[in-house]
Amino acid sequence: MSYIAPDEDWTGGPVETRFAVPDMHCAGCIAKIERLLPQQPGITGARVNFSGKTVTVAHAERLADPDIIRAFDAIGFDAQPLHSAASVERGLVLKRLIRALGVAGFAAMNVMLLAVSVWSGADGNSRHLFHWIEALIAVPAIAYAGRPFFDSAFRALRAGTVNMDVPISIGVLLATGMSLYETVVNGQHAWFDGALMLLAFLLIGRVLDEMMRSRAASGAEALVRRTAAGAMRLDETGASQWVAAEDLQVGDRLLVAAGERLAADGIIEDGTSRFDLSLLTGESAPVPAGPGDVATAGTLNLERPITLRVTAVGEARAIAEIARLIESASQSRSRFVRLADRAATIYAPAVHLLAAVSFAAWMISGAGWHQSLLVALAVLIITCPCALGLAVPVAQVVACGTMMRAGLLVKDGSALERLSEADEVLLDKTGTLTLGRPAAQGIEAIPLHLRPIARGLAMASRHPLAMALRQALGGAYVSPAALTNIVEQPGEGVEARYEGRPVAMRRPRASEIGPVSDDRAAAALDLGEGAPIVIRFADSLRPGAREALAELNRLGLPARIMSGDRTDAVDAVAAELGIVGQGDMRPTEKMALLEAEIAAGRRPLMVGDGLNDGPALAAAHVSIAPASASDVGQQAADIVFLGDSLLGLPKAVRAARATMRVVRQNFVLAIGYNVLAVPLAMAGQVTPLIAAVSMSTSSLIVIANSLRLRGAVT
């Protein structure tokens, strides 16, 4: 199935490109990709990362993305290029945090070893020696492992705010300073173990938080579709070459094949075809266009190849305007303050006040500054938000892991917080409530023994209707028949021979469609016997749409449709689902409606997929997009659900609410622990031993409570 003459010379150094291949499921897939891909022309090597579902391909420099995607296609896999530097950066942050955790963990264990001997009665010279060894291990370890907290606290203070890292940093630095002083004067208690354990526990929380974010980000990124990442450019001689979208220039002539998306705005020079504008407008019915008509980037060419003269590229495209809207809309989102940070603004001053009060009280009662400072320090260490730091990330990581297994990719931890607050749901129609792609209707008309031929014909073409037919037949477990002499005529159909008889899947003739007007697309199948069978294609509702909306309503989220499609098409779907709907909405109107809802105190959940939903997705309190959504839709949404069924929506809401319930329980547990221990600390009764025990117990309780979320997604 090679698509390039094998004798062609592939020179130039090998380049590595990463591709997302979501369909890898087993060892066989790994072996197949790593063995067969390098046999494709121009490709020298392939390395699978199964956890990330990515493949790193080493290939000749002049091989462009579509060539490699075709190579994947030739061995039976669907691949999408990944060009995001963000995920690499994410990985680096995570690695830094894990290194810090490794160092803190190592130091905490060794210091604890020595601290236990001090607690169990070592005194005199050996205590002095142990404290010195502890200091030697702890000071550099704290300086290294504490950096993420110190940096963040410093940034917050400079911006004039307080976050959780401020009390953490003050506690850790004060504990280290006091312990160093105690070590030098041969005092009784050193708190190095407490400071290190605190850092280790908090770093666990940070690592989990970051891990969740990078995993979700890479998952969502893996689903980014190859919408017009480039185009075939025609030069003067008529030869075509693939160029990336950013290298296109005004005046270029592009050849756009059927089934391809336009990468730039332009005027059609040659060819007539029908275009799917749903990505831009939400309009579901294809729009015909011919020479002289204007076509915008992002539209899908459905029928025949056309030649396009580019009139606008990059920032000047109609799409870019939507991107700017999204950016302005998402700024309001960033004003959302996460629960942990809201807690910190109350917690941090309270803790510092308590420590100051205890210091003052002990000074007044004549205890001397040294003992008073030790008491204040004990208060700070006991109240250091160790369990608080774990309360949110552990719960969210456990919940997101469970949700991911259920096909819900959460891109951001605060999304769960926001989703749990949502009180209404606004849905786009095309591609969200409906599948957004033609689905074959009436395949029952094809006799069972002829279905393999139909499947074989459908598999010979990448036309959207052929793909829809293939999918419909694939569900019925039909294996394709072996066809010969396959010829595809763009815009006309596929012809082939089966056991000597001519068979075809083609554009139906006027006589076959009949006199009744029907705006559904159609294809005729000549299967060698009997009259040709006409198959109709129409966009259908997603499975589970009705149940999902009913369930959301029960959860207190009434649904409404907000679509850019014609009002009568919207009304039909709305009536079928028994909800209200509004059609003919432009992207700015959708965004304005959401902003009005938020201004009225509602917390709308936006579910949408198209480019035209992008600004609305970004403006909503929280947003969900299907995995079939456009690149932009997925970027703008907080959660992406896999598969066709809409039942993921109520699942996500329930999981988010369960998560926030556990997070609140965790806060109560963590703060309750502090409330019990603080009076002890203020009374001067807390030794490093008590601090160590209470700190680890409260953290373990919080983790154990969070693990209950493993079964939360049902």
Partner: protein
């Protein structure tokens, strides 16, 4: 006491070795593809 003077450095040294091994494995990408490693064991050799 003399025993301690020997044992503490030994303990610290072993701990440090563990830390270094961990840092090395992070850098060498041992944790990059945890699920893939489990799968690869099932791949049969080409000529088998």
């Amino acid at each position: 006491m003399n025993g301690l003077l020997l044992l503490i450095p030994v303990a610290l040294f072993l701990g440090l070795m563990g830390l270094l091994a961990f840092l090395w494995s992070m850098r060498a990408g041992q944790f990059d593809d945890m699920d893939g490693a489990a799968m690869r064991i099932l791949i049969e050799d080409e000529d088998a």
